[in-house]
Symmetry: C2
Subunit: 335 residues, 2 copies
């Protein structure tokens, strides 16, 4: 992609042009040549939007809830971007289509922009992808970005953890409660939502969560609230919206949280860039194929190979290189 | 840890000493100094054990099933290692303890060795960790290694994908079927297990799965079988065991599969080693802190920083380095 085209996209996004927004997201997701320079250009115009992560077990009605929440936010004059993080599965075409259909109501609202993101492969990048898309939506001028995950795996948890506020959605009648805990998502919640609250057992789920919190949060002043909703009918969504706004102001120890978020982003960008460059180089030279062959022919084991491949990872060498590099960007040591 | 100690552990594991096994797993998991050399020493004695991955939605009764399957395998004269992959959650202590208690029956069987592994942080390593532990169990002499995942996220899917055969466990009465698909786990199954088959709706789940498979596998000769079990009573477990043995012989296109597995392992080892070394170096020099500060003070954006940090990732430079390194292990180009 030409530098010129990127310039047009970036100024289009900044000017609020929806087609530029769509195109820029696609190209940044695909890591088209020059994507990083374009994100650098956008960067100064970001930091205004609030990002809300929504996760919970499959079948908890997250899509419907996100739909209802987006409509409510829109009614209150907020512009909304939705990022739906879907696992990439050859089987799931139908299910995802279903989701998008359920979202039809918000899809025709010009203040709401919806975007699906596929779960990436083993080399990761899902978190950074979500961060990038949220940032583009931010630069575009969206007030609130909702990130909805379909699953509750580690990857999805990492994605919602990049948000300013995390909603964990539970429903009555999904096993014995303890099972939900196993997924490891309870402790990342800023707000618990018990959805499908018109079903029997909703109050028990609320009591279960509050019981857990009273044990886990002993001594903390700022226990996460539990809100009941019935997203399909819209009940409780207004109250959820109020709680969300409260939390967005108060929820986190801002400084520590920002620090951690930036730290993770730098590491993730470094990791992805190194691995992508290596894969690309090895693909061209056939080096990886040769290594795999050597292991299969018992000429080498993976552990020895990796030791030989990465000879100079000493702290001294790495820090020498880092100091040299950061000097050009951040300035000399004493800055 | 001294080289001497590692030598003792490695020969202990090879000789079938359980205490050496436990200790070696812990030290390799913690990446204690010298772990890679020790794994190199073990490597030649591995490749015999069959690895079986078991995954499925929370509440599907995976632990009970793994328990029952291990007992059945033991009855048939096989020695078994179990790796339970648990998400690391401050809340989940109780639930995990519950799992381990349910496993009490197999825990007293000397032919069965159980090991829990926590889900790792953002820098990954869970897959490699499971691979390493499975390999140690293999070198120890276990015939079958069962890897059970608690969740169904991308991480857990990657873990079970390293197995020779994957069991996906479903249960009746968990939503509308389509929800289960969303998790993206259906397509990795070599065997589908419908557990808790004494509950109403079991046959419908079987029919649902078979219906999907008939669409997805059109033209394939080798459709994954669906087996009904009731792990709590033991019903169907014998039949599952038979199916498992059949699949372990026939299931995969061996060569392609091994190739892919080795490829992934090399990349994952490289990735982990680079990132751990960088983190370690940056922690000592404070370089990461300085970068984070620069971003927070708007002196730099993450994208520019990373560009500056990684200046020489050109294909030529990487391949020059790779060729030099692999030559010492694999031998010259024409090998």
């Amino acid at each position: 992609m030409k530098v010129n085209d990127w310039d047009k996209l970036v100024s289009g996004v900044k000017a609020g042009d929806v087609r530029s927004l769509s195109r820029m997201i696609t190209r940044v997701e695909n890591r088209a040549d020059g994507w990083k320079k374009a994100m650098q250009q956008l960067y100064s115009g970001t930091g205004r939007a609030k990002v809300v992560g929504i996760t919970g077990s499959p079948g908890a009605g997250k899509s419907t809830l996100v739909n209802a929440l987006a409509s409510e936010l829109s009614k209150r004059g907020k512009t909304v971007g939705i990022i739906a993080v879907d696992p990439s599965s050859p089987f799931s075409g139908g299910a995802l289509l279903g989701d998008r259909l359920r979202m039809a109501e918000v899809a025709v609202n010009p203040d709401i922009f919806i975007r699906s993101m596929a779960t990436r492969g083993a080399l990761g990048g899902l978190c950074q992808g979500a961060r990038d898309v949220a940032r583009i939506l931010d630069a575009f001028g969206k007030d609130i970005v909702l990130i909805e995950t379909v699953g509750v795996g580690q990857d999805e948890i990492e994605v919602v953890k990049t948000a300013d506020c995390v909603l964990v959605v539970c429903v009555p009648g999904q096993g014995d409660g303890i099972q939900a805990l196993k997924a490891g998502i309870m402790e990342i919640a800023d707000i618990y939502v018990v959805n499908k609250a018109d079903r029997p057992g909703a109050d028990e789920v609320v009591a279960d969560i509050e019981g857990m919190l009273s044990i886990a949060d002993q001594g903390k002043l700022d226990t996460a609230p539990v809100v009941k909703t019935s997203a399909a009918t819209g009940e409780g969504v207004e109250s959820l919206c109020n709680t969300l706004f409260e939390r967005l102001v108060h929820a986190r120890n801002k400084e520590q949280w920002l620090d951690k978020r930036v730290r993770e982003e730098i590491l993730s960008l470094v990791e992805t860039q190194i691995m992508e460059s290596l894969l690309c180089a090895w693909q061209e030279s056939g080096a990886l194929n040769k290594m795999v062959e050597a292991v299969l022919n018992k000429k080498a084991d993976p552990y020895s190979l990796v030791d030989a491949l990465l000879p100079d990872l000493s702290k001294e060498a790495l820090n020498r290189q880092t100091a040299k590099a950061t000097k050009t960007i951040i300035g000399p040591e004493n800055s």
